[in-house]
Amino acid sequence: MPFDITVLTPHLDTLLAGALLTAEVCALGIAAAFALAMALGLLAVGGGWAGRLARLYVDVFRNVPFVVQVFFLFYGLPEVGVYIDAFWTGVLALGLVGGAYGSDVVRSGILAIEPGVVEAAKVSGLSRSAIIRRIILPIALRTALRPLGSVFVNLVLSSSILSMITLDEVTGTARGVASETYRPFEVYAFLLAAYAGLTYALSLGIDALHRRLNRHMTANGAPKRAANRAAGGWA
């Protein structure tokens, strides 16, 4: 049987419904991941128990396969009495892993801030929370936007794994279409191209946003050549 993409036409509605579900679960998952990444990123920069715990959390979620995390949440939690449906388990799983990878990015962004800028904020008497909200996070996120965006795009790709827990997102829907049409090659090739197109578009959007937010930025207001000339040492 030769390659024939038109076999998909009657099923586009179904696939679109699946795509919509993908969009929903990803949007919520990304939002959760973003919030968690900021919180963990801030904690992970610091010392003490909170810092160590944050870094341990990140370590665990970065070194266990996503599908195992999803199975643990979906099948394991009910065993200890926590019942969440497939959709919200998906959101939770994406949020937890996205928060872990994202926090590393945010942490790098925070560490890249010129320390003098934070010092200026401190000596002007700004409170800790004001410094975090108005100085540290806005600057760190501007640097971290592109790699953070890349983490979120990966979440979209990982969402395909949620088809394994009976969620009818686009990959799960596609499996159904494939078995109905007996044309798995066309279905999955189309799906592949669709995901790639979507992530490409998202990356372009993130790049544009990154450029726009960073159009005025330098490190601390100091000219680059002067930064090289500044005296080192203790004085």
Partner: protein, 223 residues
Amino acid sequence: MRHAGFTWHDGALLAQGLGVSLGLFVGTFLIGLVLGSAAAVVRHFRVPALGALLHTALELLRNSPVLVQLFLVFFGVPALIHQPLTPVFAAGLTLSANTAAFVYFIAVAGLDAVGREQVEAARAFGLSRAQLVRHILGPQAAAFAVAPLVGLAVNQLQVTSLVSVIGVIDLTKAGDILNLRTLRPFAVWAIVGALYFAAAKTLTLLGNRWERRLRAHAPPLGL
């Protein structure tokens, strides 16, 4: 925690699964390393049609879900060519290609990082392209690429967990089987997760050690 229902047999099953996962990982990573590096060299020397084609294909591979790639190869290709593929073969093929895609982009960055001056000097001295790659570009690009490659390795190790979906009896599938028997998903998936974690951390440790050794011998870039 009472391990009622867990036996030594289960340990053996998990160990076997882990072995399959590791074997699949090592095999596909090495193949992907070779293929991806070769593709990067092709692009570096600006081979016209081939370079662009490879780039597009690899861009596609790294921007789509591995799960869908697996389905395409295991379900889709046999429908097209009227020949079945074994789960292991399909898994090996998919993961090698997927790994090659990521290696390609890392290698391209590594090759680009080697200063143009060195390439010009080498060419001026009459080195052939092959010699250029072997003695100048290769070693320095490799030193640059080691850290991201270690990160990629850890990632690809975890990606192997998806082959369980097409029936390969890897660690995840072993967990699945164990689950069906013991009906203790919380414990089973926690243990499976812990095993993957240990494997990943070991890999990172080995990778870092190797990176330190490589950096000790390789000269700094652009000197």
